[in-house]
């Protein structure tokens, strides 16, 4: 692994990020790069470092951050494969577009906040005069049907709020996923990616994907896919030792 240790601005509130794009934009700005000049490899490393740091601080990190991490890793992997050059460029263009759009949204959100702060400096008249109304015909507005589902949702949500909170099972950690993966490859030489993800939740799949990419990167796994969306075959290269497993776990923790 390339030794890359960005100086962390820890004074920055790590938990203050509003999602993966916010974090990415922050990294790009820190490099004083134009969004359109984004260099995927270093950004991927830094992004992963941030996630690691956030995990160390025991911040509750949304799955969205890991989805972005796996996208970045996939891009990085593609950038190394000549055959994937076109696909890589396409993904990079998409990401640039997404970041540029997101930058606009942030500016617009800040503007709305400003407008709101100014607007609420005025107060309305609150008490109502009792002025008799005549009998009126009953009509509903154009979007009443959506108002109906909103009201129903309100009832359901209120009822849920009154119920005892169910304790959710602990989500997967990278350690669980890696142990599982190592367990499989200690017994066999190859397997289908789908057999590992069968009936698993999204968080697990994302972790698994990241682990696989990491193992491919360091040469322990070979991945073949004959066509887009076709089955991904994972093949073991080298030996899956306990030691290697611990090493990898340490890297993610």
């Amino acid at each position: 692994m390339m030794d890359f240790s960005p100086a962390f601005d820890l004074e920055l509130q790590l938990e203050g990020f509003n999602g993966p794009l916010d974090l990415l934009l922050h990294l790009v700005r820190k490099q004083k790069m134009a969004i359109s000049d984004i260099a995927i490899a270093p950004i991927t490393e830094q992004y992963a470092e941030y996630l690691k740091r956030m995990e160390e601080l025991n911040l509750d990190i949304a799955g969205d951050y890991f989805v972005m991490a796996s996208t970045l890793m996939l891009m990085k992997a593609k950038s190394l494969i000549p055959r994937e050059k076109e696909s890589f460029e396409e993904m990079r263009e998409d990401l640039i577009f997404q970041l540029e759009e997101y930058e606009k949204i942030v500016a617009q959100a800040a503007e709305l906040q400003k407008l709101h702060r100014e607007a609420v400096r005025s107060f309305p008249r609150v008490y109502k005069e009792k002025i008799e109304k005549a009998e009126r015909e009953f009509k509903v507005g154009e979007n009443a049907i959506f108002l109906l589902v909103e009201h129903y949702a309100r009832v359901i949500e209120r009822r849920k709020a009154l119920r005892p909170i169910l304790i959710k099972p602990k989500p997967y950690t990278m350690k669980d996923v890696l142990s599982l993966l190592f367990g499989v490859f200690r017994k066999r030489k190859s397997t289908r990616f789908s057999s590992l993800t069968h009936q698993r939740e999204r968080g697990f799949v994302v972790y698994l994907f990241v682990s696989v990419l990491e193992l491919v990167r360091e040469g322990s796994l070979k991945v073949t896919q004959t066509d887009t969306f076709s089955e991904i075959i994972l093949q073991r290269r080298g030996v899956f030792t306990e030691e290697k497993q611990q090493q990898l776990i340490a890297r993610f923790e």
Binding site: F123, P124, R125, V126, Y127, E129, I131, E132, K133, A134, R136, E137, F138, K139, V140, G141, A144, I145, F146, L147, L148, V149, E150, H151, Y152, A153, R154, V155, I156, E157, R158, R159, K160, L162, R163
Partner: protein, 173 residues
């Protein structure tokens, strides 16, 4: 009289939840009661020819629509034709729509209230809800359903077209 002082008194009376006393205004503005009284007197006079008047009521002051223009105000209130259902009525209607056939007790339990019978009567009067038989349990309570008029008013061909909770990201648990 300092124009800004008078204007502040005006703003306070306008925005208050209930009639405000001279005493309260004086306290907020850290001003002399006499000064506030004078401002209120001037404001009262200023507003005499206008569409809004300043009234002394229940130990305090408040702005009200000038009585002279009541007929027009009434006309405006009548023009707001699309009578909207109250929050409680809308919720009750929503429960009937989504859970029909349903009993009055079931609706009340879902809404966390003692009774919804007067709301249900109201919805029946508006022809949005109807009685559709009795439930086969002890006491044989009446079952409620929505009417064809409900479908028509809400622009639906059938109940299958009701938007699902899932679509707005709420899971029923």
């Amino acid at each position: 009289m300092d124009g800004d002082f008078k204007a502040t008194v005006e703003a306070l009376i306008f925005a208050a939840d209930s009639p405000v006393s001279v005493e309260k205004i004086a306290k907020i503005l850290e001003a002399d009661m006499e000064l506030v009284r004078a401002a209120v007197a001037e404001l009262t006079t200023d507003y005499v020819p206008r569409g809004i008047n300043l009234f002394e009521l229940a130990g305090g002051y408040r702005f009200l629509t000038s009585r002279r223009f009541y007929p027009m105000v009434l006309k405006m209130k009548d023009t707001d034709r699309s009578l909207s259902l109250s929050q409680a009525a809308f919720e009750t209607l929503a429960i009937v729509a989504y859970r029909q056939p349903v009993t009055s007790q079931e609706i009340a339990a879902m809404r966390g209230v003692q009774s919804v019978s007067s709301i249900l009567r109201n919805l029946q009067t508006l022809e949005l809800v109807r009685i559709a038989g009795r439930k086969d349990v002890i006491g044989r309570p009446m079952l409620y359903r929505t009417t064809p008029k409900f479908l028509e008013l809400f622009g639906l061909y059938s109940l299958d077209e009701l938007p699902s909770l899932e679509e707005i990201g709420v899971n029923e648990l």
